[in-house]
Symmetry: D2
Subunit: 249 residues, 4 copies
Amino acid sequence: MNAEGPIRVTVWGEGLEQRRPEVARIYPDGIHEAVAEALRDELGLDGDVRTAQLSEHEHGLRTEVLAQTDVLAWWGHSAHDEVADVVAERVVQQVLDGMGLVVLHSAHLSKPFLSLMGTRCTLRWRNADEREIVWVVAPAHPIAEGLSEAIVIPEHEMYGEYFDVPSPDELVFISSFDGGEVFRSGCCWTRGKGRVFYFSPGHETQPVYRQPEIRRVLANAARWTRRRSSPIDTASSPNSPAGWLESHG
Amino acid sequence: MNAEGPIRVTVWGEGLEQRRPEVARIYPDGIHEAVAEALRDELGLDGDVRTAQLSEHEHGLRTEVLAQTDVLAWWGHSAHDEVADVVAERVVQQVLDGMGLVVLHSAHLSKPFLSLMGTRCTLRWRNADEREIVWVVAPAHPIAEGLSEAIVIPEHEMYGEYFDVPSPDELVFISSFDGGEVFRSGCCWTRGKGRVFYFSPGHETQPVYRQPEIRRVLANAARWTRRRSSPIDTASSPNSPAGWLESHG
Amino acid sequence: MNAEGPIRVTVWGEGLEQRRPEVARIYPDGIHEAVAEALRDELGLDGDVRTAQLSEHEHGLRTEVLAQTDVLAWWGHSAHDEVADVVAERVVQQVLDGMGLVVLHSAHLSKPFLSLMGTRCTLRWRNADEREIVWVVAPAHPIAEGLSEAIVIPEHEMYGEYFDVPSPDELVFISSFDGGEVFRSGCCWTRGKGRVFYFSPGHETQPVYRQPEIRRVLANAARWTRRRSSPIDTASSPNSPAGWLESHG
Amino acid sequence: MNAEGPIRVTVWGEGLEQRRPEVARIYPDGIHEAVAEALRDELGLDGDVRTAQLSEHEHGLRTEVLAQTDVLAWWGHSAHDEVADVVAERVVQQVLDGMGLVVLHSAHLSKPFLSLMGTRCTLRWRNADEREIVWVVAPAHPIAEGLSEAIVIPEHEMYGEYFDVPSPDELVFISSFDGGEVFRSGCCWTRGKGRVFYFSPGHETQPVYRQPEIRRVLANAARWTRRRSSPIDTASSPNSPAGWLESHG
């Protein structure tokens, strides 16, 4: 267990995808449960993992829940618009105040991610069963720890460039696909006091979150994004009438 | 004149600040006119500069105006909330499509900048007449071209860290103030196909935009941010059913 | 012609590769002449392009030549070790003083590039005739100006990750290969007052530098890296006994 | 104790500075011993800290020592040239293979740092007893953990811009001085598989390394830079004749 206590993770999902038989075969309880299970296994005593989903009151993301969340993992696809603006905005504010955010696969178009990026977050895609090779391009980065040179996903949906996001502060993974496309598949940003990691693997009809290396990435990402306390308050622009030093020195 | 023709610049201001006598003494026609004059002088035949202000229909920023603007310079302070959401959003979309944006001084809290950054953009400030030294920390950057090691602003309002913005893609200037504060006063970002430059000098009660080195920075920033055409369309996530190469190769 | 006068480019090559018949068929006068021709065609009046090669006195890179060079383009492969240390160091010092450096293909292991990067610059490779797709991942970057979404090189040697270079300040291109590899094929760095661009296309047995899009990239890179004057002197650590402001203000 | 076992830190110093009485009063056993003591106190069971100095055989940095070092902290000032090239190069190679490097104060001109940066690493300086304020500009960064908005060093030598280093991958601290200078005083880079942190506080005639916040930064830096194992081998450019996937998939 790390010195700060276990990482409190909330895994959010739509909870709708498993209604489709081809998804239910792989993820009978929904993707959020599979991601949560991976994080529980990988983090062990370092993690304290719960789940939340769209159908819950306030989508399971009441203020008290988020205030006690160190890392929010978010998977969404077909119901981005059904997330209430007030909840999406609450997530954004928590990130700016230090909560980590792990954005998974099709959540590149989720409301919190769009707001934090400030861009369109569009990409090229193809429903396919193509081999994806996820290459490590930052071997010193904690999110790549324990991995080999690349992760091979035998069959996956294609996501390709141009991915309309701000240039990542750190680029950890680049993927290739059989069709010749490339994709910045593991991207790090800091927004306010919070850290954001986008990881593209995880289409609902392929058992990506059952793959050991992918599960390792999820756990690494939880460790890297976890909330850190900071005394800096960014809620408003403080007036320092007498000089900072005079009042603090 | 550069090969692409003159840079079409629109300088936007609130047009309210000059109602205060202490501002009118320095900027009788408003800050936007002073910035426009600086750009006209500095860019010469390379520039085609017009102005727009809050009181105009759609704040002078109709779709046709923005579509023919290569760089939008924006100064605002007391009336951020009076800018219509639809106009602010239009500016953001134009930036994502390639228009440059030069954000001046207190426009760090303007709607377009907040949306493009995704953070709170708060900072520390003090109404003062303190010496600001604007140090060049990227001597190879085009925005620093023609400058000496530092620009001294004899008297200026203090803006200090922590400045709650995403880590700039390129940091060109860092300022110090008599009170001991520091500030990342010249910051570059790319958002979508557009370039954004934030430059903090320019409080309304001090004649900062009359200073030759500051005017040079404005012109350099216009050149650096100017719209570039790109065939990449980010309006939506394109489906590539048959593979990009099959349809383009 | 731009305001600063034509860009003075020196294209350096080993001048050895055309001894091999399969190279001579494509580049009878050596690669440096093909690159120079491309730059002459593309830059027109904006360029003043000469060449230099290994066999010349001081490899054609005497101090006076470099002092009058705004951009040095460098292609090398089999004779990195034959470049005199004193000349390599001279190139490095010129870059730190503002000269641009465009490093082509197998010059990733050239002495000047290794010294400026500080890392091993190793990569994965395969002699092959594979399709390379060079994707634009920074559509707002001047080096991508005028390009489409991607450049297709019908047959090329494979260069793949992990590429052991410092994380680029700006990443412009990512390539994919038939074997599933990816590569950061267009990378920008600033070192001192000089700009460095590495561009991986250009194996000697394939006519890559005859391809129009590749030639456009070369010209864009020359424009982006061209020397800019800066009054900042980095030759030594200056002592400021009385304070910078006292002596400059 | 963290999961990976204690961080094995070697603190290197010249061991010469304490011959001067004004230094001996503050650091009777040399600066390396003060830094080591700080790290022992702060890391507790998470650290395993030893020291080495110039006068030892191979400066105390034999291959076996470095191979068992997770983080090397380096303070040097008057004797940079006395460090054997072979030892400096050994340090560089270890960093590229994953060892962390914490470069302190005047070690900006040490051989390993110069080699890893590729630039001149010059800066502006003034022997003075001026107040330095070290501002946090990356509150989410682990190296700033546990700090307030700024660290005030009551009296310190001045280091100012332009600091001729590659733009840091992450900028954690910016300092101001009474003379109006600014300095990027806490900078992060990755080189190969190793992480490098430069931290400018620590002139030998002022008791900077006795200050609690400075000691906290040293410990945070040790945690952030500590060696991580990676299976990627960068010793040479591997030929992948049959494709990576064929041999690994």
